[in-house]
Amino acid sequence: MWVIFQKEFAGYLHSLIAYMVIGVFLTAIGLLMWVFPDTSVLDYGYADMGTLFSTGPYVLLFLIPGITMRSFAEEKRMGTMELLLTKPLTDWQLVFGKFMAAWALVAVALAPTLIYYYSVYQLGSPTGNVDTAGVMGSYVGLFLLSAVFCSAGMLASSFTVNQIVAFMMAAFLCFLLYTGFDSLSALPLSTRFAWVLKQVGIVYHYESLSRGLIDSRDVVYFVSMTGVLLMATKTSISSRQW
């Protein structure tokens, strides 16, 4: 698994994808947080990082499918999938190695935003008047959310040999998981299941974490959602055996 992780991560670094992802993410978030007046912290007047955590998921919704779209689609198109699967490597190791590499890349893109926390911390009046617990909870939420997005992207990529198709499927799946279920629960048709539907979506748990309390139920939700998606990916990879 470690070997696959290294190969994938090196692949991101070699192929500009990593720089694109980090560059685009930081530019978008930086502009939204500090420059555009509608969402800027400076104009808002409160020492708060809400902008990062409310717009971050939407930026990731497009970026992560871009990272993961080639993971299996490209291997299948090039025929290297056959090469990998005839090596002494289990399907799980392959899926997990690739997932970890994508997630690690997102983590690297997220890490520099910790500087924003420092800035906001210094801007607070008095200095340090920030809801630190809320920010840290939100970071945990964002990090776990990107794990779900990465595994959804892996799943989409395992279905097709076409990267564009993989990207669109992944973006849609991420969107559905993020706000889709939340919106569905608001439909008058589904009042009986509204509570359940709401909890299937990511938003419910993400917001809960952002309040600064790391509730094990939310963590379990993110971990199991990632697990289910990776399991589906593994099943999709193994389906050649049927």
Binding site: V3, K7, G11, H14, S15, M78, G79, T80, E82, L83, L84, L85, T86, K87, P88, L89, T90, R240, Q241
Partner: protein, 306 residues
């Protein structure tokens, strides 16, 4: 037995890709797996490497079942897939290192193995290039180096020389011959000369079934090859007279006095031609036999039954 294929059947949808295929290879043996395109060569090889499971039957590599002991089997097999897929954006060295580490090689022993393979496969000048910049012949060498890196006891090569120019084919054949000394090797091909150049044993498959599995010489014998003779006399001869000779199937005239004579399967037309020459007091200028017996046997064995 190094490689045992027992009653292997693979069904894709309603179509049988291979049906009841069985053969065994002893340790150290090298065999050619011959058949026209779409005969089931690749399918058999994919099953043998554990990439796809059989519908029925089983494959054992060094006594281990490829379905139940897949991971152990993969460790002992070196595989070069058809079309030789490679990570073209990797460097040769990087790719071999990645491959070796997947087999659990590391550190000094991995470096030493890579150095040996680069030497063996003739890649010293290419080792620091990107794979995408290599010619097809060199890519094939990288593919072979990858298949040999972990010193497998069974080597499975799917059409290792397809798409190469004659010089490259010669080089790759030499390489296969060199590495096959203490390994069990099966390689597929649709060219009979290839088998002849590399080994004695040939397994012929057609439409998913084994049609011959024997020494090449014996397959040729049994195949009742057709002779094509180029005969030239000093003066013209009546085609009708030639056609009436024993063992002659057809005659065509190239020029007055020069004829192409095709024998009936399994019979030698040379003797009757000599007798005919003497009986009519003719002067024979030349009698030459075309070496096309390989193709004709291949055609016979893999004929699509109507």
């Amino acid at each position: 037995m190094s490689l045992e294929v027992v009653n292997l059947t693979k069904v894709y949808g309603a179509q049988k890709a291979i049906e009841d295929v069985s053969f065994t290879l002893r340790k150290g043996e090298i065999a050619g797996f011959l058949g026209p395109n779409g005969a089931g060569k690749s399918t058999t090889m994919k099953i043998a490497t554990g990439y796809v499971p059989p519908s029925q039957g089983q494959v054992r590599v060094n006594g281990m079942d490829v379905v139940r002991q897949r991971q152990q089997v993969k460790q002992t097999i070196g595989y070069l897939p058809e079309h030789n897929p490679l990570y073209t954006d990797m460097y040769v060295h990087e790719y071999l290192e990645f491959s070796g580490r997947l087999y659990g090689l590391k550190g000094a022993s991995l470096r030493q193995r890579i150095a040996e393979m680069i030497e063996l496969c003739g890649l010293p000048r290419e080792q620091n290039k990107k794979i995408e910049s290599l010619s097809k012949g060199y890519r094939q060498r990288v593919g072979l180096a990858q298949a040999l890196l972990h010193d497998p006891s069974v080597l499975i090569l799917d059409e290792p020389t397809t798409g190469l120019d004659p010089n490259q084919i010669f080089e790759i054949r030499k390489l296969i011959k060199e590495v096959s000394r203490n390994k069990t090797v099966i390689f597929s091909s649709h060219i009979m000369q290839e088998v002849q150049a590399l080994c004695d044993r040939v397994i012929v498959i057609n439409r998913g079934k084994i049609v011959a599995d024997d020494l090449l010489a014996r397959v040729l014998q049994r195949g009742q090859a057709v002779q094509t003779l180029l005969v030239e006399w000093a003066s013209a001869v009546a085609v009708k007279d030639l056609e009436s000779l024993n063992g002659v199937a057809s005659v065509s005239e190239n020029a007055p006095g020069a004829y192409v004579i095709v024998s009936q399967p399994g019979s030698d037309a040379r003797q009757p031609i000599m007798q005919f020459t003497q009986a009519h007091g003719l002067t024979l200028l030349s009698l030459r036999q075309e070496e096309n017996s390989l193709e004709s046997v291949f055609k016979q064995l893999t004929r699509v039954e109507a």
